[in-house]
Symmetry: C2
Subunit: 253 residues, 2 copies
């Protein structure tokens, strides 16, 4: 099978971003409004084309910074910053009506941002709770007429669902939940991250025992805070641990 560039079908390659954060006790994703056809006026995931001499991860990091101003932390992902990882690749032949586009989706976990979005105007980007972006066909709401236009453009609903499921399972066996927190955070704040991502309530005592008892998960930073009200809480930073063993198992049902 000889290589002849002109003999093989040309593809466009894009990166799409599932940017997740926790705002007001809800898991939220970044959505942008499309300005052109197709799906004009509909919400979509941020993303763009990969440049000719650009790596896939670099393209994702560039798009992230263009859309949000967020910069990915150095060490291949997180530590005390934004986490970025490849999610999956979507390439159904008809996923874009104009041409053959293969999209390499990436997952970003970010702490809550003060401003909705730094780059771009406010009208065209927003944080939206994932449950409003992922209304399934079975959900009842208004008459069906309005339903379709609320769905994300292209196959972005599927990409978002896959990204959310990845995040939900990944915080089970990794220390990545700290990527949703500010550099210094309390055990209660970390617990609320887990509760928001999983959509369940956790026992504060057992959670505290688990996270403080897992070596390398949390390191005390020395200070305390009362920003959540109540008794002052000890502040922690993310430790060096990347995997949790044994994992933090999601409650069933």
């Amino acid at each position: 099978m000889p290589y002849d560039p002109s003999a093989y079908p040309p593809f466009a390659v894009t990166v799409d971003l599932v940017v997740l954060t926790v705002r007001k006790h809800a898991l939220c994703a970044l959505a942008v409004r499309r300005g052109e056809s197709p799906f004009q006026g509909r919400w979509a995931l941020p993303g763009g084309f990969v440049a000719a001499s650009e790596d896939l991860g670099s393209a994702a990091a560039r798009e992230l910074e263009e859309e949000t101003g967020l910069r990915v932390g150095e060490s291949a992902g997180s530590a005390a910053g934004v986490h970025l990882e490849q999610l999956a690749t979507y390439g159904a032949p008809d996923r874009d009506p104009r041409m053959r586009v293969v999209s390499v989706a990436h997952l970003v976990l970010a702490p809550d941002l003060p401003a909705p979005v730094s780059g771009g105007d406010a009208q065209s980007a927003r944080w939206a709770p994932v449950h409003t972006l992922l209304l399934e066909a079975g959900d009842e709401l208004e008459p069906e007429s309005d339903r379709d236009s609320d769905q994300l453009a292209f196959d972005h609903g599927q990409i978002l669902a896959d990204g959310v499921e990845r995040a939900r399972s990944k915080i089970e066996y990794s220390a990545l939940a700290t990527a949703f927190c500010t550099p210094e955070f309390t055990v209660g704040e970390l617990r609320r991250v887990y509760e928001a991502v999983w959509g369940v309530a956790l026992d504060p005592r057992n959670f505290h025992r688990k996270v403080t008892g897992t070596p390398g998960f949390l390191v005390p930073s020395g200070g305390t805070t009362t920003r959540q009200g109540g008794r002052p809480a000890q502040l922690f930073r993310a430790g060096g641990a990347t995997v949790l063993n044994p994992p933090m198992l999601r409650p069933e049902i």
Copy 2:
């Protein structure tokens, strides 16, 4: 950002396959010998170009059947057959010296095959233990002269390593280890699969208790076999369970 096909860099999109099986108590991968430059004569992962109107998963299944004769089981992967899933996408600008190629790697888990490879000639394809395909730079063996030519072509060494790690972690929390087995298998055969993939020895008593006690993992097929010698062993088929909860944890170290 308007879409103009000619304004965006053209990519070729390929699928590469990490096909894993367990042979003689060792985890093995399918490798094919390259006939042309670059990397002529070197071993590589099987794969090929995605056709113009072909889905990524379909292209992977087609390449698999062309190279091995294996057909992917119906229900989105396994059940009682070959399992195929998307692994990751590799798109470094210089990963192919001829042109910009983005490769969507897929992972295949297959039972031990009688013939080495059905399609293609025997000289150009083989099952090789993954540890021989993944000799790292740190390993000592012969003088370095021979080392480089034993490495897989392109970035296929990295792809294989990622696929092996995916398989190792996935049999922890899913029932996918049965994809390495024949339709009917014994508990001992399943245990040897785990031992080969993880490269560790497991306690037969605890393993038996675990797999037979996990609902939906195994269903007795009624028969017995002595193909492993010794006392007749009960035969099982894969149950409907896809996730193991609690997971089968890999021993540490």
